[in-house]
Amino acid sequence: MLKLSKYVLYDIVRSKVIIAYTLFLMAVSFSLFQMEDNSGKAVLSLLNIVLIVVPLISMVFSTIHYYNSYEFIELMLSQPVSRTKILLSEYLGTALSLSSSFLIGVGIPVVLFYFNSTGISLVLTGCLLTFIFTSLAFFTSVQSRDKARGIGAALMLWFYFALIYDGLVLLVLFTFSDYPLEKLTLLLSSLNPVDLGRIFIMLKMDISALMGYTGAMYKDFFGSGTGALYTIGIMLLWMITPLLLAVRSFNRKDL
């Protein structure tokens, strides 16, 4: 499998998009840290960029990469290599290159300017989100042979997780505001990896004091060791489930 991943990685590095992505992340991180006197504020701005940009780039890049490597996949299919292996090495190659971009582009500035538990959680969350959204992108692209449709589905999913979901949650909270919703909001946040990441990092910062009773409850839960384990566990589930579904439909497909 590693043998195949090596070729995938090689192919991705040659495309240079990944290098541009690294440089972009690095430029944003450095300039944010330079502009703000208070590194905490810079991390907060960085957080918002990470939560929007990382899922978007991971999804679009992975989808395009999947369709572009159709030839490679076709070539491998007639060789004695199993389909599961082919897809997983594609996934590993893509996710590893995207996450190393992120580690270099955001990880290095964070280590230089803001090396503490919040900074580390930010980098960890970004990496996990990369793996999650690459996995979601593979799931959607395996379903359809049409590139336009695949990219459309990836974008729709991104819109859903990054924008629409928050609106829905607000709607629910607003409609049922007369009831105790603390437990429910906790559950709702698990249904969206982006939200989960946001809460996880925000609670590491001092601003959670501004969030009232719910914030206090969140802090109680997510601030603890169990909370951190829970977050990582749910995120791993978000990564593994779509990937397994993708492998399953890839194995049954005519290619």
């Binding site: 195949l4 040659r14 495309s15 490679f72 070539l75 004695p80 290599v81 199993s82």
Partner: protein, 257 residues
């Protein structure tokens, strides 16, 4: 070597394979012929596991190929349209496939590689290759690992006469080694000197599977092209093939060896 039992495959409404059963053994060169869209490539892709049949089974050396991978070690496949990663060079593609196939004894068959002068074009980008050169790369890869079974989908389409001759000579050589070779082609004159058996598919149905001698004998023609044309004409008239299909000959072969 390969046994196909009651294979069915539908693509939406199109019945690409309709109850196809056949058996291929060592030493045979089987020509798969039939009009466009008659299911030839689907049959080949099913054998390779690229297309998953709806019903029926395929056995390779007695074992079902379903969910198997290792059997492909014994197959060299030359696709109809060879598609390769655009940003790789010829040499890299060949190296990659070598690296991925766990070839044991290290005896690679690089005859075609040199006959097609691939050593001089190793640094050419796959993107810039003409259709014919791509075909050559496909052919090199199919023969490179000295497989027991060769599956060639329209091997000579797009090749210049010289390359086509080289490839045909190579096929004859491999035939003499007792390999099983499956060829699809529309150029019947190309097949005449190679083939031992003819398989005729139409609308996903297997209509005829016969040795060449039988066909020639029964139609009274000496050239394969004419003989096949005769069979097809009769088929169109009666709706059935007048020549009976060959039976499973694997047992006969086992006896002969």
């Amino acid at each position: 070597m390969i046994t196909i039992k009651n294979l069915h495959k539908k693509f939406k409404k199109l019945h690409a394979l309709n109850d196809v059963s056949a058996s291929f053994s060592r030493g045979q060169v089987v020509s798969l012929i039939g009009p466009n869209g008659s299911g030839k490539t689907t049959l080949i892709k099913s054998i390779l596991g690229i297309v998953k049949p709806d019903a029926g089974s395929i056995l390779f050396a007695g074992k079902s190929i379903d969910k198997q991978v290792a059997y492909r070690d014994n197959i060299g496949y030359m696709p109809q349209i060879g598609r390769y990663p655009d940003n790789m060079k010829i040499g890299q593609v060949i190296e990659m496939v070598k690296n991925i196939r766990n070839h044991k004894d290290g005896t690679l068959d690089d005859e075609l590689f040199f006959d097609f002068k691939m050593d001089e074009m190793q640094d050419k980008n796959m993107r810039s290759l003409s259709g014919g050169t791509r075909q050559k790369v496909s052919a090199v890869l199919a023969f490179l690992f000295n497989p027991d079974v060769l599956i060639l989908d329209e091997p000579t389409a797009g090749l210049d006469p010289l390359a086509s001759e080289i490839l045909k000579d190579k096929i004859i050589k491999e035939k003499k080694k007792g390999k099983l070779i499956l060829i699809t082609s529309h150029v019947l004159s190309d097949l005449d000197e190679l083939t031992t058996d003819v398989m005729y598919l139409q609308d996903g149905k297997l209509h005829l599977y016969q040795t060449v001698e039988n066909i020639k004998q029964q139609t009274g023609e000496t050239r394969l092209e004419k003989a096949i044309a005769q069979v097809m004409k009769r088929y169109l008239k009666d709706g059935t093939a007048t020549i009976p299909m060959t039976e499973n000959r694997e047992a006969d072969y086992a006896k002969a060896i």
